[in-house]
């Protein structure tokens, strides 16, 4: 138990420092390279200046993360995307109401984020570690098949449909690479994703350098994974 808490605090402090600093840098992007997400920036802006708004927004996602880590061991992406940046902002804004001097300041956000991260991650992992075995067995029995269906069927279909909706070029590339990746990798999603990127690039600006670079990466990826999974040997067995 002590080991789990210590490890969690190290991870939380390390990640919290970086995630909160990255979030503060979002207010200075694109001149300064930031990290986080556009959605997160919008949410930070929406509660700007009000420590209570930041706090309750983060709290909602903390409950969500707690449910997910108890059920499946996953802390959700919201720990770095939402809880840490919003709670760091909330703590800083309690003392100083000006976002320009708090939320937009990477150093202050980083220090607050490290403290918040250490506490949040240690808290979530400790409650996950005291959950009885039979409870997690139930969760695994439900989540296992649910997420296999997600991964095997829903996500590939959605990505291929998204490619088709985006136009002729992304549709063609998404279908072709998605189908090939189902054959080679056993899942159509990665191919559909790469097909969307390549197809959209070609649709917007022709078969340019970045489309070519991406195509080369795809060929290498498919060749290597096909080799690893015995696809090429298997395919040859149909001919010979």
């Amino acid at each position: 138990m002590l080991e789990i808490i210590i490890k969690s605090m190290i991870l939380g402090a390390l990640g919290g420092f970086a995630a909160a600093a990255g979030a503060a840098r979002m207010f200075h992007a694109p001149e300064i390279q930031a990290m986080g997400s556009f959605r997160g920036l919008g949410e930070l802006n929406a509660c700007k200046g009000d420590p209570m708004a930041h706090f309750s927004f983060g709290l909602g996602f903390l409950f969500n993360a707690a449910g997910s880590v108890i059920g499946a061991g996953a802390l959700t992406q919201d720990v770095w995307h939402r809880i840490v940046p919003n709670w760091a902002a909330s703590a800083l804004l309690l003392k100083n109401k000006k976002p320009e001097e708090t939320l937009y300041n990477p150093a202050k956000m980083a220090v607050a984020g490290a403290i918040v991260g250490a506490i949040v991650v240690a808290f979530l992992n400790s409650i996950a570690s005291i959950i009885p075995e039979s409870l997690s067995a139930i969760a695994a029995g439900i989540l296992g098949p649910a997420s296999s269906t997600m991964i095997d069927m829903i996500i590939p279909v959605l990505f291929i449909l998204a490619a088709l909706d985006a136009g002729k070029m992304p549709g063609m590339w998404g279908l072709a690479l998605g189908g090939l990746s189902q054959l080679i990798m056993g899942n159509a999603t990665p191919g559909a994703v790469l097909g969307i990127l390549i197809g959209q690039t070609i649709q917007e600006s022709g078969f340019n350098k970045s489309a070519k670079v991406m195509l080369v990466i795809v060929v290498i990826l498919f060749a290597a994974i096909g080799q690893g999974r015995g696809f090429w040997a298997n395919m040859l067995s149909f001919i010979m």
Partner: protein, 213 residues
């Protein structure tokens, strides 16, 4: 504080931030592999790793995560905000962790300090690549493709809640009833129903164990 802020307001310090976050995220994958919790990502990605550890086939997480990582690394310097969900949490925390497990370097993932070092190095390299791309950005990169992907990714998340109710109902009658109650309460409160559905199923199925299917 002033000095730290000057450092953190520079583009050159970006690789340091990605390195720290990647170390933490890969450390979370180490916790998940050794303890079964602590994974810095969504349930779907956690199940990809768990599934891979059971079957030995990691092609899905590696393929899925490489696609996301590539897309986000291309997009990050273009728009000025690197999406840490797709690039670091999915790409590194799930993709690289799977890569280590499948290429016989699983020992790295089982050691806390080694995962931190590995994550730090991977993050440092990714951060450097992003800053180099940002400074030498070729013209004519399409940002539109990432928007389409994002839309599909977000749409996928919506399916998990209903799927959990369906599989809870298949698991046992109490689990099904619990997940319905949990999901309805969350819907009423305007929260994501995934957490409510799974917690409801767990609680009711725990009270009435019976003979699970």
């Amino acid at each position: 504080m002033k000095k730290l802020n000057d450092l953190l307001m520079k583009n050159e310090s970006f690789p340091l931030l990605t390195a720290m976050l990647c170390a933490a995220i890969l450390g979370g994958s180490h916790m998940f592999i050794t303890e079964g919790f602590g994974f810095f990502n969504e349930i779907a990605q956690a199940e990809m790793i768990r599934n891979g550890m059971e079957t030995g086939d990691f092609a899905t997480p590696i393929g899925y995560c490489t696609g996301f990582l590539l897309a986000r690394i291309l997009e990050g310097p273009l728009v000025g905000i690197l999406d840490i969900g797709g690039s670091l949490m999915t790409g590194v925390g799930t993709g690289f962790a799977s890569l280590f497990l499948v290429t016989g370097m699983g020992a790295i993932m089982e050691n806390f300090v080694l995962t931190l070092i590995a994550g730090f190095v991977i993050g440092l390299i990714l951060g450097l690549v992003i800053i180099i791309v940002k400074k030498t950005m070729p013209q004519g990169m399409a940002a539109g493709g990432t928007g389409i992907m994002m839309g599909a990714g977000n749409a996928a998340g919506r399916y998990l809640g209903p799927l959990i109710i369906i599989y809870a109902a298949k698991y046992s009658i109490p689990a099904g009833i619990g997940s319905i109650i949990g999901a309805v309460i969350c819907q009423k409160l305007g929260k994501s129903m995934v957490g409510g559905a799974i917690l409801g199923a767990m609680i009711v199925a725990f009270i009435f164990p019976g003979a699970a299917a």
